[in-house]
């Protein structure tokens, strides 16, 4: 009998078996990472919008309160996107001739809404209610990030369920005084004692309640 294989095949075959194990493990890791990557979540990605609206300028620069535009954030599940008329309250006087704002003026003129691209987009089967989160002391920045530092709006959080669960399991790590909900700059050195106190004070439900499926899905 003569040799069928070259002697290098010994090493090759063993290495390839080990490699297969590592490749499989690596592939699973890549899949998991991809699933959580900004490619999937659009986290941190600036989407194209009809008007390059700057939250940084309006919030940090001009000091507008969130609720000036997002009027229904305290009363409705939906925070509200300002109608064109709200924009034009100021922009009929300021930057009234800017090319950048032409879509806004056109909207009012033609009575056609501005079609924005949604930035923070939950799937349709997840029922999120802004008003209750605001009422329970969840700050805007807890989910939306420092919009006052965003020249162009982007999604701050991954918005995946495991992310939501972090807070629903441990609300005390995120809650803030109601007065500070709309303050993007608020910080406390003492969340550890403040959190549990606010959870009690605001009657925030237990993790068992907050992780029941029908809390968000129906």
């Amino acid at each position: 009998m003569s040799q069928i294989f070259h002697r290098s095949t010994n090493t090759l075959s063993r290495v390839s078996i080990y490699a297969a194990v590592f490749v499989l493990a690596g592939l699973s890791w890549v899949l998991m990472a991809l699933d959580r990557s900004p490619y999937t979540t659009r986290q941190g990605i600036v989407l194209k919008q009809p008007v390059p609206f700057s939250h940084e300028h309006h919030v940090a620069g001009l000091g507008l309160d969130c609720r000036y535009c997002h009027t229904s954030v305290e009363t409705s599940r939906f925070a509200g996107i300002p109608p064109t008329a709200t924009c034009m309250n100021c922009h009929k006087l300021i930057w009234a001739d800017s090319d950048m704002l032409e879509p806004v003026r056109a909207s009012l003129r033609d009575d056609r809404p501005i079609v924005w691209t949604r930035v923070n987009d939950l799937p349709d089967f997840a029922y999120f209610d802004h008003s209750i989160h605001v009422a329970k002391g969840v700050g805007c920045v807890s989910c939306h990030g420092r919009v006052d530092e965003m020249p162009l709006m982007r999604q701050e959080a991954p918005l995946q369920m495991e992310w939501c669960l972090q807070c629903h399991r441990h609300p005390e790590t995120r809650v803030r005084p109601r007065a500070e909900v709309f303050n993007p700059k608020w910080e406390t050195p003492d969340q550890a004692s403040l959190g549990p106190r606010l959870v009690r004070e605001y009657g925030i439900r237990s993790a068992l309640d907050l992780t029941s499926c029908s809390t968000c899905h129906r």
Binding site: M1, F5, R7
Partner: protein, 181 residues
């Protein structure tokens, strides 16, 4: 196949026509003081391994280790998922519904133990080894048919190409071959 000839031998090999002859030869080689011995047969032959002085197999130990890992991983996974990671009230059953966790614990025990068995066997046998010096012996193809081979490796302290060959030929084999690297 045209390969540069090497000077060193892997060992020397004697071919026998029956398992009885092989067993006898193996016993003789062992008595003669040879320690680096191996035999090649078309089917497993009882006592051959002991005759050659091989150690008992370590496969059973690997199976035990695999089984313990499987059982712990199986129950641990279920406990962690159901009682720690995301405890849910499923039909009023407790989070740690241990009777319901037995089947999977059992299956994982078997699975991991089985995988350890097979891969442990392969590793202990040094497989895969597609290239091996013994294949250089043309007659060796019959080791998977009806011929029985005894090989004394050159690593054996007693090995000497001339005297070993003489020793092997004295066992009345049907042939003795040099096994080249």
């Amino acid at each position: 196949m045209t390969r540069p000839r090497t000077v060193r031998l892997y060992g020397q090999m004697a071919e026998f026509a029956s398992p009885h002859d092989l067993l006898a030869a193996a016993g003789a080689a062992r008595s003669a003081g040879y320690r680096r011995l191996d035999a090649f047969t078309p089917f497993p032959i009882e006592r051959l391994s002991e005759t050659l002085g091989h150690r008992p197999s370590r496969v059973p130990m690997l199976v035990l280790i695999g089984g313990i890992i499987g059982a712990l991983a199986g129950y641990g996974l279920q406990y962690w998922v159901s009682a720690v990671a995301y405890p849910l009230n499923i039909g009023g059953r407790p989070y740690n519904s241990w009777p319901a966790f037995i089947p999977i614990t059992f299956e994982l025990t078997i699975l991991i133990a089985g995988i350890f068995t097979v891969f442990g066997m392969l590793v202990l046998n040094g497989l895969p080894t597609p290239y091996h010096p013994v294949f250089n012996v043309p007659h060796f193809a019959l080791a998977s048919r009806d011929r029985y081979f005894l090989c004394i490796e050159s690593k054996d302290p007693k090995f000497d190409p001339a005297s070993t060959r003489v020793f092997l030929e004295g066992l009345s084999p049907s042939g003795v071959f040099d096994v080249e690297y």
